[in-house]
């Protein structure tokens, strides 16, 4: 059952990822990315990350991607024009596949297949454990990221406001 669920969500993630790269209109790419994030949220649940799956849905798919979709709608970005047919595209794609193959071989070589992922085995992904670690061991990075978000808000407001002449 675990393997079946993994297969389904992995297939959704890969198909949406390919769709992101292949689609011409940015809105289709954005919605494919939302599909990838949804599938990844389900995979995080399978790996026992309850809080991180919920955070992925709330933060990434529900806020960041909405921002992307907004900007695409606001700028009225049309479909891309056909690019010049450079040799880079035809040489690059097989090279990337070779890179992928090398990574995959390296991974399967170093990780024994005996260690499997079963749903329910990892119990430390609950909000309780997550919060405990976040507010004790990782308190400084947490505070620093709050300052980072504040800076990002200020930067975004300054960059995107109307010029007052």
């Amino acid at each position: 059952m675990d393997a079946l669920l993994f297969m389904i969500f992995a297939a959704i993630a890969v198909v949406c990822g390919i769709s992101l790269v292949v689609q011409t209109h940015p809105i289709s790419s954005a919605l494919s990315l939302v599909g990838v994030m949804g599938a990844l949220a389900a995979l995080y649940l399978l790996l026992g990350g309850e809080f991180i799956a919920a955070a992925q849905l709330v933060v990434y798919a529900g806020a960041i991607m909405v921002l992307f979709v907004f900007v695409i709608m606001l700028l009225n970005a049309g479909t891309e024009h056909k690019g010049r047919r450079t040799w880079a595209k035809y040489a690059g794609a097989p090279l990337l596949l070779v890179l992928l193959g090398l990574i995959a071989i390296g991974i399967t070589h170093h990780l024994p297949a005996s260690e499997g992922v079963m749903f329910g085995q990892f119990t430390k992904g609950t909000p309780l454990e997550f919060g405990r670690a976040l507010f004790t061991t990782y308190l400084l990075p947490f505070e620093v990221t709050s300052v980072l978000i504040l800076i990002a808000i200020l930067g975004a407001i300054v960059l995107a406001r109307k010029e007052i002449d």
Binding site: D2, A3, F6, A13, V14, G17, I18, L20, V21, P26, S29, L33, V36, L40, L43, Y44, L46, L47, G48, G49, I52, Q56, V59, Y60, I64, L67, F68, V71, I72, L74, A77, E80, H81, G83, G92, A93, L96, L100, I103, A104, T108, L111, E115, G116, V117, M118, Q121, F122, K124, G125, F130, Y138, T145, L148, I149, A152, I153, G155, A156, L159
Partner: protein, 106 residues
């Protein structure tokens, strides 16, 4: 249909992460619309998140989840500022193709 294993090997998750990462690289290198390039970067960040959580499972610690959370937060901040920059660029150049944003060239 071949029998599926009862528990999913960890290497499958990492291979999926690698596939998504390579797809992100492909989008980043081959697409010409600046927003699509930005979205490919987000895809790469997501692939890395999956990798973090897989290793957190392997090492039986919650620290990987916390790293993944910080990656999400940084991606949020980056998306906000990056999209604001894209809006400004569009206002000034009226184009979203990265080939035409080349005034620093030569």
């Amino acid at each position: 249909m071949p029998a599926l294993p009862s528990s999913v090997p960890l290497s499958w998750y990492l291979t999926l992460s690698a596939i998504l990462f390579v797809l992100g690289i492909a989008g980043f290198l081959f697409r010409r619309n600046i927003i699509t390039v930005f979205m490919s970067i987000e895809l790469m960040l997501n692939a890395v998140n999956l990798s973090f959580i897989t290793f957190s499972y392997k090492l039986k610690q919650v620290d990987g989840h916390i790293f993944s959370f910080f990656v999400m937060v940084v991606a949020a901040a980056e998306a906000a500022v990056g999209l604001a920059i894209i809006l400004t660029v569009f206002k000034n150049r009226q184009t979203l193709e990265i080939d035409e944003l080349s005034s620093l060239k030569n």
